[in-house]
């Protein structure tokens, strides 16, 4: 499955693994793929610690960092610092929403956090003001060779800055229209994510979206995202003209991941019909397991989700509680995952997954060859 993008990045297989766990980044790299650390939940100081750990453990292999600068969000036109912006946004969160969030938790027997608003209402890296310091940290690490933006075209000066540091820029998209904007802005690798995908995604299915994006931006390389959790699915992506696979869900179900046993059991038990695109955690449509939290925020009569990044300032309390009380929170936890969750039934070693995908890819392409040979 070697494609030009493998040579450009110096990797063996075009398997890109999005994860929030540094151990998974390292394990994927060692197995021949490319690990990408999701930075949104880390302060710049925490991110520095994570990347230093990766540097020490990854040998001479490259890796990436994923940030989130949406093309539209509350407060995007301000010139404020991250702290000032957080202060302003905190005041915009209606009491009604906070109380509704606390009630959902209380109704599920989850202890409600009584700390101050400043502790509770976290802005995280969902804005340019808070993502830019993350980029600065990332660029201090020479083996960090790719920065991906999960939710829009990165700002022009940021692309220029990353290129000047000799690194590449990637960006996700859900339509050929967005892909064209990325390509025109100088993005090096475009990730076309179908509506099957976990996390933020559009509505157009992968089988339709991928070839449209490939055609739109050629010769810019396109990675396929949304619905990939096997070598057969990678073969399908390459048949449709993509140069590799950008994957996320599978890496929640590896031994190296920090996900709790309760959450991994929820993923293992879920079918592909148990996910929903919901605005209830981040404010933008984001695919995750359906549960009582997602249902509550879409029931008519209840408060409607706020925009990004305000909604996370509310849902952050559920995310925090999940880390603190994993056994009690599965019904209200944030369990982002794609429809491919229906294929995930057990926790495996990262290296085992990569090996299996390569074998499955070879089997799939061999089967096509045999069909073609038999037809002659």
């Amino acid at each position: 499955m070697r494609t030009p993008v493998c040579d450009e990045l110096g990797i063996e297989f075009p398997i890109f693994a999005f994860t929030h766990c540094r151990d998974v980044v390292v394990a994927v790299a060692k197995a021949g793929g490319f690990g990408v650390l999701g930075a949104v939940g880390f302060t710049p100081e925490q991110l520095e610690i994570e990347l230093s750990w990766i540097d020490e453990n990854i040998g001479d292999r490259p890796y990436g960092v994923d940030i989130v600068i949406p093309n539209k969000y509350e407060g995007m036109d301000s010139e404020m610092s991250g702290d000032e912006l957080a202060e302003m946004l905190r005041k915009m969160v209606p009491r009604e929403h906070l109380e509704f969030g606390r009630k959902i938790l209380a109704d599920h027997g989850v202890p409600v956090d009584e700390s101050t608003d400043e502790d509770t209402l976290q802005l995280l890296g969902w804005t340019e003001a808070t993502a830019t310091p993350q980029v600065e940290v990332a660029l201090q690490h020479p083996k960090m060779t790719l920065i991906a933006n999960a939710l829009g075209t990165p700002p022009a000066d940021m692309i220029e800055h990353i290129h000047a540091a000799g690194r590449k820029v990637a960006a996700l998209c859900g339509s050929p229209y967005q892909a064209r904007k990325h390509a025109d802005a100088g993005v090096d690798i475009i990730i076309a994510q179908g509506g099957e995908g976990g996390g933020h995604c559009g509505e157009v299915g992968s089988i339709v979206l991928w070839p449209q994006v490939v055609k739109e931006v050629a010769p810019v390389p396109v990675l396929a995202a949304g619905g990939i959790g096997s070598g057969q699915q990678i073969a399908a992506a390459l048949a449709l003209g993509c140069q590799g696979a950008w994957t996320g869900s599978q890496w929640l179900m590896v031994e190296e991941a920090e996900n709790t046993a309760v959450q991994q059991k929820a993923y293992a038990d879920a079918t592909s019909r148990d996910t929903v695109r919901s605005r209830s955690f981040t404010g933008k449509p984001c695919r995750m397991l359906k549960n009582d939290w997602t249902e509550a925020w879409q029931t008519p009569g209840n408060p409607e989700p706020l925009g990004m990044p305000l909604q996370y300032m509310v849902s952050g309390m559920a995310v925090k509680a999940t880390h603190k009380y994993p056994d009690q929170t599965v019904d209200v936890a944030f369990n982002p995952v794609g429809q491919v969750v229906g294929q995930l039934t057990k926790v495996e070693k990262t290296a085992t997954v990569v090996e299996r995908w390569v074998e499955e890819y070879v089997e799939a392409t061999t089967r096509l060859d045999e069909l073609n040979a038999a037809a002659l």
Copy 2:
């Protein structure tokens, strides 16, 4: 792209074309594929005329018929004849819904049909009582070798009856659970349709659904549906273990189709984000172009769509008006199509489409071979 199912059915390419136009059935067969006539809108007498025409024009090539027997619908447990059932169901349609439908048409300057309820509120073939006579007609035609059910597992006695007549049974599904029910009932060919698909479809995307169904029912052959409109997409389906492609949207955009120029222009102009899964025409989620009719039925405060087959007894007036006043009705017409509509930009000859798909398939599999060779 020759697979075992080609030999079983005696066709050159595993390209299955669902269409409501007899001319397309014949043109696809002559190009080496397998045409399937959607019977739902025909009375048994009309269907007899269509199939006789196909028999006269198709040479010695086989073809299929698609019927609709949902697994759940209003009146399904009655033992009534089709006429009795229609009479009963007509009384169940609320006046409010009929008036709302007429108002949408009137608001768009479409002349409102003043004929009697019996003329207007058509039951069509959406039930076992009305589909069974269609099956009887189809079985009188020896070149008609496959009957597909679009919306559920066909009744056991119907499967037995079709098998006794030496024909095969196919059925669509949107989950491995439904696929298992089909296989256990003795369905010969299972069609896995992803949520991208036009017409009735589920929510799981093709790239995820197809391999799950293949795994669930092996060795029963699976056809891939939902999002296929090119040879690359067929290659992807075969890489995922399917034996062929069940396609629909493309055949709305061929010269042999009866679709009006106005409708074909609407399809040509649409992007993949312009479709919606709506209950506003048939009562079950069905993918079509978004327009004022689909919007009206999902606006809070307006009447909600009825179940199947009641909703079509209301929307039938819009379908009828579309045939009568095609220039005025594009905003309220029933334009079923999949997300693949974004790839469809012009009207072509059926034979040209089939040739192109075969060439694209060969290109896609050749590209995979070259990647594999370069990696060695």
